[in-house]
């Protein structure tokens, strides 16, 4: 009897697993492939949407402020010149759509749909049941999409999107949005219903529908983009960030001139204004919008959870292959970078002290997998060209353990913050850096350990003059310091140049970021985070201008691969793996906040008055905090204290 039950259970589990892996679909799914012509007659598909028209958008105060203060000239910054249309707007962009299908050669099931627009990258929609990447994986302009059939409708779920806009010329979206699309074909008509769920800027998802017509005569050209690093916005400042100070954008109501029959309140958006109940407030109605109760839906997006997952503080080590020799190592929420190759291991930062053993284990395991992985036989004996020996050179790998990976050679500290240097003492002792006796770095004879490189202000922060107690043990101090604007390692490490750049007076006075020149990866340290405002330690020489300056320097070095994404990868101090556009978004945000605080301070406002003016309101949902080690209040304190 037990055996029968177990067999039934096993069959049930197996059936459930199969069900989970194979999304439900009709026996013969509608064919979506082909050329499609945009056939909407709504205003913003064919003309310039008016600046400040937020009708029908369930904006909250943050979304409204962000949109009011963002300038369309942002397209002219070097990092955004070749930006494709933002995903929520893409179906409404002119130029039609092309849908291609890719099949699994064995089953002939459609494994991927590819959607292409004139101003987009190829957008794959995976139909093979794969899961979405971890939250700390990069975000792109088209995001990561998976599809499933719900009856005759293709439901597409998209995550990992960069920030952008709902419509050209104003309404902004954050990078916390998710997008769900429903594609339904009725003969020659394709209807796309899009739900944009952005809890940072909206009180409920924004829903719109767009119609396309099948058109065998149309073709989707690609819009070429030959951007250059010159500033399209004029002037000579390549780091110029166009934006409006709150209240400065006087053009928002221009489109209402001559249309005084349109009440102003709903043009500012808001969930209360988009339901029929709002009519009670019009035409002399005495009800106020704020008093209305509307049956609004809620966001399905848990921002706190997503941010936590993009910087997991779970006491564990996670590793994300980045590019070339470089891997991003997340140690209890702190990002480190590691280079692995024939020369050995180079580690950028050592994380919190409590994570040292797990970092060593994780990096060691990674190094073995990368450098000492047994390889299957690929050629044989005398027929194996270029190899010496009696038989296959791989036989050694098959019959014996591979040689261990080379040891840790270098540690680079990007600042003296505890999450950057905490593991120095333990981790450095596991390394080896040959030094002739009587010669060496800043610290005398520290034994057979890794070289620890940092800006000299890091050593100053960690040590103390003779006779005084130092804040950090001697064995954790940098052994090799530099003082200039950059420090080139004198020889290749793992086949590439490694350059350490100083970012003066950024989060502290000793900040650096590290550029791996062949792998095209930058480890940014605490200069850059995708989960919080920068931790500016004003008492240690940190300034808001220094942080912005450091980010600008990163942007000067980094290059996008294509259409303003990919290319040089930037590993932030915390949060997801990023590219130039992500760093630009962070730089833009900080520049806007810096300028706002500067303006308010210039008007004579006290710190308390500046805080009351909420100069960070539109970014607090994304980067702010009211509790924990680095709150929004502390950030504004630092900006106010150091802005010039």
């Amino acid at each position: 009897m037990k055996k029968v039950l177990l067999a039934i259970l096993a069959v049930t589990v197996f059936a459930t697993m199969r069900g989970a892996a194979q999304p439900a679909r009709p026996a013969i799914p509608p064919d979506l492939a082909g050329e499609w012509r945009l056939d909407n007659n709504e205003q913003d598909t064919t003309a310039q949407p008016p600046l400040g028209d937020y009708l029908g958008i369930p904006f909250n105060d943050a979304g409204r402020m962000r949109s009011d203060t963002t300038a369309e000239s942002i397209w002219g910054t070097p990092e955004y010149q070749c930006r494709p249309h933002s995903a929520p707007h893409q179906w409404r962009g002119l130029g039609g759509a092309r849908i291609l299908k890719e099949q699994d050669p064995l089953t002939r099931n459609i494994s991927v749909y590819h959607i292409q627009f004139m101003r987009s990258l190829d957008r794959p929609v995976f139909m093979d049941g794969r899961s979405h990447p971890p939250a700390y994986a990069p975000h792109t302009w088209t995001g990561f999409s998976t599809g499933e059939w719900v009856g005759n409708t293709l439901k597409i779920t998209t995550t990992h999107l960069k920030d952008g806009y709902l419509k050209r010329g104003g309404p902004q979206t954050s990078d916390m949005l998710t997008m769900t699309e429903y594609l339904t074909r009725h003969d020659e008509i394709l209807t796309i219903v899009t739900s944009v769920d952005d809890p940072i800027y909206m009180d409920e998802p924004y829903i719109e529908s767009t119609t396309y017509t099948y058109d065998t005569t149309s073709t989707v050209a690609t819009e070429t983009c030959n951007a250059s690093s010159f500033a399209e916005n004029g002037g000579t400042d390549r780091h110029w960030v166009p934006h409006f100070l709150p209240g400065q954008n006087t053009a928002l109501g221009e489109w209402l001139k001559g249309a005084d029959w349109i009440p102003v309140e709903p043009t500012r958006g808001g969930v209360k204004t988009i339901y029929p109940e709002y009519r009670a407030t019009l035409n002399g109605g005495t009800v106020k919008a704020a008093e209305l109760k509307v049956p609004s839906s809620k966001s399905a997006n848990d921002v706190a959870k997503r941010l936590a997952e993009s910087s997991p503080r779970d006491g564990e080590v996670h590793i994300l292959p980045t590019q070339g020799n470089i891997y991003m190592v997340i140690a209890d929420g702190t990002n480190l970078a590691v280079s692995i190759g024939g020369d050995g291991i180079m580690l950028v930062d050592t994380g919190a002290a409590k994570m040292s053993e797990k970092i060593l284990a994780g990096v060691g395991q990674l190094a073995s997998a990368v450098m000492a992985n047994p390889t299957a036989n690929q050629c044989f004996g005398a027929n194996c060209p270029g190899k010496w020996g009696w038989s296959s050179p791989y036989i050694g790998a098959v019959i014996s353990a591979p040689a261990p990976a080379r040891p840790l050679r270098y540690i680079i500290n990007t600042s003296a913050a505890s999450d950057r240097v905490g593991g120095n003492e333990r981790i450095a002792t596991t390394g080896f850096f040959p030094r002739g006796s009587q010669f060496g770095g800043a610290v005398e004879n520290v034994g057979p350990r890794a070289s620890v490189i940092a800006h000299e202000e890091v050593l100053n922060r960690m040590s103390a003059p003779a006779g005084k107690a130092s804040p950090m043990p001697t064995a954790s101090w940098p052994t090799d310091t530099y003082f200039d604007e950059f420090h080139k390692l004198p020889e290749y490490v793992n086949g590439e140049a490694v350059i350490v750049y100083h970012a003066p007076n950024a989060t502290t006075d000793g900040d650096s970021f590290v550029f791996f020149r062949h792998s095209e990866v930058i480890a940014a340290g605490n200069l850059f985070s995708t989960v919080s405002y920068p931790v500016i330690e004003a008492d240690k020489g940190g300034t808001i201008d220094g942080v912005i300056g450091g980010l600008n320097k990163i942007l000067d070095i980094a290059v996008a691969e294509y259409r303003a994404q990919g290319g040089t990868w930037i590993i932030p101090g915390r949060g997801r793996l990023s590219d130039t556009a992500d760093v630009a978004a962070y730089r833009n945000m900080l520049t806007m906040i810096r300028d706002r605080v500067k303006d308010l301070k210039k008007k004579g406002m006290t710190l308390a008055q500046v805080k009351a003016a909420r100069p960070t309101l539109d970014f607090d949902g994304r980067y702010g905090a009211t509790t924990g080690p680095w709150t929004t209040d502390m950030f504004i304190d630092a900006v106010y204290a150091t802005v010039k």
């Binding site: 064919t46 003309a47 310039q48 949407p49 008016p50 600046l51 300038a71 369309e72 000239s73 397209w75 002219g76 930006r83 249309h85 002119l94 101003r119 050209r168 010329g169 104003g170 819009e223 070429t224 983009c225 030959n226 951007a227 250059s228 010159f230 500033a231 399209e232 916005n233 004029g234 002037g235 000579t236 110029w240 166009p242 934006h243 409006f244 400065q248 954008n249 053009a251 221009e254």
Partner: protein, 130 residues
């Protein structure tokens, strides 16, 4: 003579501007027009839009580097504008829509004239930035 003229007037909507990746109406103040007279310092014939960079005085008489956005290569090519049509050092006169952002030296081309030989763009039908 280099002059700067700011004209606030009736909006002349800048033609059919449907193909820009960014919104012209949101980028530029289509109710205003600036006149720039100065020297061409860079001509970037490219997609999605070309740019004429010129040094010309701002409203305070201070010479700035202006970036004047022009049409893409296909449109300009069809209208006879080629890479060699403009050269660095050319003295030119441009009328344009200014940026909406205070302090930004960016503008949208309405017309361009080179007094030396009478080269013009923006005066014939269809010569508006798409």
């Amino acid at each position: 003579m280099r002059t700067f003229l700011l004209v606030i007037g009736v909006a002349l909507i800048a033609g059919s501007a449907a193909y820009a990746h960014h919104s012209y109406a949101a980028t530029y103040d289509v109710t205003k027009e600036v006149k720039l007279e100065g020297k061409l310092v860079q001509f970037v014939l490219r997609n999605p839009h070309s740019f004429v960079h010129m040094e010309a005085p701002d409203e305070h008489g201070e010479v700035k580097r202006w970036a004047v956005e022009w049409a893409g290569t296909a449109q300009l090519g069809a209208q006879g504008v080629k890479r060699e049509s403009l050269k660095v050092g050319d003295e030119i006169t441009v009328t344009a829509r200014p940026s909406r952002v205070p302090g930004e030296y960016r503008a949208l081309m309405l017309s361009l004239r080179r007094p030396l030989d009478g080269f013009t763009w923006g005066t014939r039908a269809g010569e508006a930035v798409d």
